[in-house]
């Protein structure tokens, strides 16, 4: 039997309707918005990496360059920028830690370490690291 000559049951061949995603999709659900904010933290992380690089440059360029750089840092614009960066950086850290358990499944024999415990562990380590860095820098 050939199928080619098989007459269609009715002339009709339906079209599919393909919905389009709106440009504003990320605005339509709170969780999407939080996601986009989380992704945008990367812009600030990158910005800070550049600032840190400039800081090192200034540090390496001698005492005068360093105090110039400090003055720059003290400008209100720079302070404001750092505040924003800090906000996003902390959001980045928190979201990163809260998602860490998704990739990490710790199983000790029959016991699976609950995700919450892993998140808490991350936060604790984060705080310890931060204190350590602060101590090293500030006790100079």
């Amino acid at each position: 039997m050939d199928t080619q000559t098989q007459a269609p049951y009715k002339r009709f061949r339906p079209e599919r309707y393909k919905p389009q995603m709106a440009l504003s999709w990320w605005w339509q659900k709170p969780t999407y918005l939080l996601y986009i904010l989380r992704e945008l933290t990367s812009v600030f992380v990158a910005t800070y990496a550049v600032i840190l690089l400039l800081t090192l440059r200034a540090l390496g360029a001698g005492g005068e360059a360093w105090s110039d750089w400090l003055t720059t840092l003290q400008s209100p614009g720079m302070i404001a920028l750092h505040l924003v960066i800090l906000l996003f950086a902390v959001y980045h850290s928190l979201t990163w830690f809260s998602l860490a358990p998704t990739a990490l499944v710790l199983r000790i024999k029959d016991y699976t370490v609950p995700a919450k415990a892993l998140v808490v562990a991350h936060v604790v380590i984060w705080l310890l690291c931060s204190i350590a860095i602060a101590a090293i820098v500030l006790t100079r």
């Binding site: 009709f12 339906p14 079209e15 599919r16 309707y17 393909k18 919905p19 995603m21 999709w25 990320w26 339509q28 659900k29 969780t31 999407y32 996601y35 992704e39 998602l99 358990p101 998704t102 990739a103 499944v105 199983r107 024999k109 029959d110 699976t112």
Partner: protein, 249 residues
Amino acid sequence: MQKSIKIEVKRYIPEKQPTPFYQEYEIPLEPKWGVLDALTYIKDEMDGTLSFRWSCHMGVCGSCGMMVNGQPALTCATFLEEYLPGPIRIEPLDHFRVIRDLVIDTDDFMGKLKRVKPWLIPVEEKPLSEGENKQTPAELAAFKQYTLCINCLLCYSACPVVGLNETFVGPAAIALAQRYNYDSRDQGQAERHDVLLDHGGAFDCTLIGECSRACPKHVDPTGAIQRYKADGALEYWKRLILPRGAASK
């Protein structure tokens, strides 16, 4: 006591007009009714032309997924009283082509499902006479969660990446691949790497996490995908650095 509730249904009948339209129905509000019961009521008593899929009415066949007030949901396991006083807006699942009314085209998904080789790939066939493969409860627990997927596709319509990127195999398919990867009886990971490492594979996921929030069976595709990314990246480096064929067989 509220006696009735308004249901707005997004309809699409290709013979009628090329774009969808909304239609409203006012139906009696019965205790214990699910959204699906409302739809069958409409179909039986008000409008025989409304098309939608359903079968088991117990949240296990996976055919009745729709958008309910903008969230993907299994309509047989979502209840009217959760949406009082209404109205309730019912639409076909997002990101899929629509065939008719609330019926979406799932062929693309069926193809993707097959691509990840969701079957047991043992090193060699074990003859029946040797009995069962031993698998301890702990080994079972290592992949059990990923076996629970009912292919309802809620995760696909929750995930923006699915909507943005047609080639993405998607959360459920990757979770299913992981279901076999983590099965102590399976040795097919290498074959599945070929798909999951490639374009459209796990690395297209940007960890939005909506898939897991939408999943009615707590499969946690987000976790499955993230865990894959860790395994997959390792495999990638092995394939890059080690001579051909030396990476995991």
